[in-house]
Symmetry: C2
């Protein structure tokens, strides 16, 4: 078999790159482990099913405020089977749509394990197919890791590959790791009726440098107000099986009993045993493939995108990098990777969205920083919708007014942030953001107001 491009891994990044390569006229072949792993981690065991459950959690949360809108609910019961069924149907529908479409445009998917034999040859184990190709794109993703004595076993200690299989709402769950996945499941399980203890090693949830202190703490307070028992600066020292689940000793001296431990401590790139080192692709000490700004590896016709390239493991980052790789294969030299334009969004009790630099990061880069903050507390649309929590924070260069970063917590943060993604990509300043006509009432107005706070000087009277 011959191709212009073989993409190893048909997850979000590989699949999107495949479609893009097709648009650009490359004879492309996708290699994926099995028919039911098309779409990769995001679709099958990540963002898609978790967002589904998170929507259910939001629905449950509305019950407590409906009366303000004249709706007096008579209660509800939870049917976890139906949740699971709805969730899994959605995943399967998207996956089958993917496959159907690939078939429709004659984009072949070969099922098996893709191994790079030499820079122009991929062998697919299982399909026993050898493909000669001009280019290779490695998009094999990542897998969850254990930590210390917390080794996923699918029963007492579940990782994020295994959590989907539980058959009922846990009575109590101990979540280890307060990053994106941890706070997401904390909210989901809490709303569906579990007691939740969330343990985080660092001093706050969402400890990533890309997320400002204010955003992280705002979400932490909200989760606590919903009853999530958050223990920061805490670890699990030991744990044991009990009749009904597990009992864990925490470093704060307490003991926690729970049905199981959900491990949300991180992921490791899938870069072993696929022939990378053998053909000379450089890999760093943590297992990540080294790539340049065009997603090109140290072997010039081999590219890599997504989770295999860096710890910032986001589906859309992979989708973007894959397209940049394909563009580069075709001679494009002006479209490059830039971490500055990567939206980072967490869907928990509130949406927490970031793009660009935090104040700390901007100062580290030598900028004199100005910040404009607008609260959703007094935003009319947010008030109408009963979701007036959170804020929009814009970080700008004091000298030029250029927008360096934006951090939104609150309703629709995950969509709103894109307005600023476009702007940062285009080096827009706060004058630009201030002078757009924002619909009234809208959440988007808070973006204009934050920019105006910087452009005209502060006037805000609202308290966060």
């Amino acid at each position: 078999m011959e191709a212009d491009l073989v993409i190893i891994g048909a997850g979000s990044g590989g699949y999107e790159a495949g479609i893009y390569a097709y648009r650009r006229g490359l004879r492309t072949v996708l290699v994926e482990l099995a028919p039911d792993t098309v779409g990769g981690n995001c679709l099958n065991k990540g963002c898609i099913p978790s967002k589904y459950m998170r929507h259910g959690a939001k629905l449950i949360e509305t019950f407590s405020s409906m009366e303000g809108w004249g709706i007096v609910p008579k209660g509800y019961s939870i049917d976890y089977k139906k949740l699971k069924e709805g969730r899994d149907n959605t995943v399967v529908t998207i996956r089958e749509n993917f496959k159907k479409f690939a078939k429709q445009i004659n984009l072949p998917i070969i099922y098996g394990r893709g191994i790079i034999k030499d820079p122009n040859t991929v062998f697919v184990e299982g399909a026993e197919e050898t493909i000669k190709t001009k280019f290779i794109l490695v998009a094999t993703g990542s897998r969850p890791v254990g930590v210390g004595n917390l080794v996923p076993d699918g029963k007492y200690v579940l990782d994020t590959d295994q959590i989907w299989d539980i058959e009922e709402v846990p009575r109590k769950v101990l979540i280890v790791g307060g990053g994106a996945v941890g706070v997401e499941f904390a909210y989901i399980f809490k709303m569906y009726g579990s007691d939740v203890v969330l343990v985080e090693l660092q001093r706050r949830v969402l400890p990533s440098d890309d997320i400002p202190e204010d955003s992280a703490r705002y979400l932490g307070r909200k989760l606590k107000s919903l009853g999530v028992d958050i223990r920061t600066k805490t670890t699990v020292e030991s744990w044991e099986k009990t009749e009904s689940g597990i009992k864990a000793k925490l470093s704060d001296g307490t003991e926690v009993e729970a049905d199981f431990i959900l491990l949300a401590v991180g992921r490791r790139p899938n870069t072993s045993n696929i022939g990378l080192e053998e053909v000379g692709v450089e890999i760093d000490e943590k297992g990540f493939i080294k790539v340049n700004e065009f997603s090109q590896t140290s072997v010039e016709n081999i590219y890599a995108c997504g989770d295999v390239t860096s710890p910032l493991m986001l589906a859309h980052k992979s989708m973007y990098e894959g397209k940049i790789a394909v563009n580069h294969m075709l001679g494009g030299r002006d479209w490059k990777r830039s971490d500055r334009v990567v939206p980072k969004i967490i869907y928990s009790a509130l949406e927490v969205a970031s793009v660009g630099l935090t104040e700390d990061q901007a100062e580290d880069e030598g900028y004199e920083v100005k910040v404009g903050v607008t609260s959703f507390v007094t935003n009319p649309k947010a008030m109408d919708d009963g979701e007036n929590e959170g804020f929009v924070r814009i970080v700008a260069d004091e000298e030029t007014g250029e927008i360096l970063g934006c951090h939104i917590v609150g309703p629709n943060a995950g969509e709103l942030i894109h307005q600023v993604v476009h702007m940062i990509r285009d080096s827009k300043d706060v004058e630009f953001a201030s002078k757009t006509m924002y619909s009234h009432p809208s959440l988007s107005e808070a973006i204009g107001q934050s920019a105006s706070e910087i452009y005209y000087g502060p006037i805000t009277w609202t308290k966060r």
Copy 2:
């Protein structure tokens, strides 16, 4: 009393212009009829209370799909008093916040009727205060109109000033007018349990030229599927009082009984009896004040913004025009009005958002048009949220790829549209919109996909 600027009318436009003038250093005085009309029509009898009720309607609609998320509701009852109370509290809170803030920054509000005595003098009837001023901004807004034999009486025929006072959910309501207000209330009353008949003279709901056929018809179908009885190309020929409300004869030969008629046929500018003609401000035959691109009237130091200037009566248009007026007073000449960048959003059973040109309008202006459409039906985030209806439609110039318009129907259309508002304002093309990194999964991805459909050529496999 002396001032640099007197703003007659502290509705959305006047209030926003006042804050802006304060930021820019003008000694500004706001004149408003009474303490409880601060915020104007939008806040007190328009977009804010209706958006509140619309959120309640959305909540009710979720009951029918919750089971897919494992939530089995036991039913609900409606308490209209609580809806009203919550709604009115929200309005009052926003209004009091406004006033408190004005006080805090020493922006005076004089209560009474502002009359222009000469281009530098405003007399406030009621307060009996005469203000000498350099500039005047007229922001007196508009009021609902009756039509033919449909004269608002507050009991049988209610206009959009009166609908807020009803004490319970109507058994049945006849809505006359299928524009923004009509389709909004049709959805609200239907969800709260009323039978709703919606009568529209034109051949579709949302008959405005600014809203494309596809958007209007998509919403019409959705309303019908929820049980709203829509009668297009129909008028009310006559009506009479009955024991329980009204009985109307429609032009389609049928009779409709209802508790009352809600009149949603349009508004008229408040430009009479405030001294405009007397000082030489030109007014057109429909009562609108003639203004140039800087919101300046035919009298050079008198400006006007919002509903008094054109039939496109939108709070944010007024807010924008007021700021442009103030900027012009201070010597600014580069910030101008442009209808191309006005977002137009309807919040009904679906959100319907438009900015810029429709295909028809673009062709009328001589463009060769290319269109990219992406459905929300297969959008993963929309599927997760159970709101996968609608689409994103981008209209571009075939030759340059410049984005001329965007029309979104579906979840969060009213926020999503702002991404394209920014782009149109900055003359961005489809390549720009295509190459942004959109978060996955997100609704925003549909904007990038629609742009890519034009930039790379069509690939879409989804059906609307």
